[in-house]
């Protein structure tokens, strides 16, 4: 069991847990969106690190190069990043609407207002 060979997964997990912690421990909705973004980036890093081949190069065909890294995860993550920004924009739009409706973007204060009502 040579442990160093797995460090890419561990980096992913640390990042993922940081994002997860922000999402569940913070009440501020913008902070939660940032936490979700970190979570997303950790998944991206996971895919990209899976695609890496030792001694390979970027997947652009050229004469004299034999090993390329796996192009499929690159494609998936490429589109996922752009979709991520679109969904982030949607989440932020929802935050703005919540702020307009409740006057706050803190989760517990919104819950308090809901209980009062």
């Amino acid at each position: 069991m040579e442990f160093p060979g797995l460090y890419n997964y561990w980096i992913t997990i640390v990042l993922m847990m940081v994002g997860f912690y922000i999402v569940i421990a913070h009440d501020n909705l913008i902070k939660k969106v940032v936490g979700l973004n970190i979570f997303q980036v950790s998944v991206f890093v996971f895919y990209i690190s899976m695609a890496k081949v030792q001694g390979g190069t970027a997947p652009i065909l050229d004469a004299g190069i034999e090993t390329y890294s796996n192009p499929l995860p690159h494609v998936l993550i490429l589109t996922a990043i752009v979709v991520a920004v679109a969904t982030t924009a949607l989440a932020l739009a929802l935050v703005v609407r919540i702020r307009n409706a409740y006057g706050t973007i803190e989760d517990d204060e919104i819950e308090g207002q809901e209980d009062d009502a």
Partner: protein, 138 residues
């Protein structure tokens, strides 16, 4: 406001190269890193830079709401219609090989068209979202 003057001059110098670079990324994406997604974002960032420096209202004159919304929908429409064109010419949906006599040229044509559609939609979406967030009615 001396800083504003510097910003204006520098951004005037920078915006045309940014747009040119976006087009380069768009149409050179087949050969090097790049493609519709990146090109759309870079193209949109040129508009965002303009809006930040010269004010939202001036930027809205350059890129009115109807223009960005049309761009947004036309990109997706172009993408889907390339797929339908494949069916009409006797292939499968999104099968580019039938678009030209030579399958390889057909593939190339299809990919270029589709990347253009992607770029149009992404840039339209980004500009629209930015203007909405900047207080201006999208």
């Amino acid at each position: 406001m001396i800083f504003k003057a510097i910003l204006r001059v520098v951004s005037k110098l920078l915006i045309p190269p940014i747009m040119l670079f976006a087009l380069y990324v768009q149409f050179h994406g087949d050969f090097g890193p790049g493609g519709g997604f990146q090109a759309g974002v870079i193209f949109a960032s040129a508009f965002i830079l303009y809006a930040l420096i010269f004010g939202i209202d001036n930027a809205r004159k350059v890129a009115p709401a109807w223009a960005t919304r049309t761009l947004l929908s036309l990109g997706l429409l172009l993408y889907a219609s390339v797929g339908v064109a494949g069916i009409l010419l006797g292939g499968n949906f999104l099968d580019y090989s039938v678009l030209a006599d030579n399958p390889v040229i057909g593939q190339h044509l299809g990919i270029t068209l589709i990347e253009f559609g992607v770029g149009a939609t992404v840039s339209g979406a980004m500009i629209t979202i930015f203007f909405i967030f900047a207080h201006q009615d999208g």
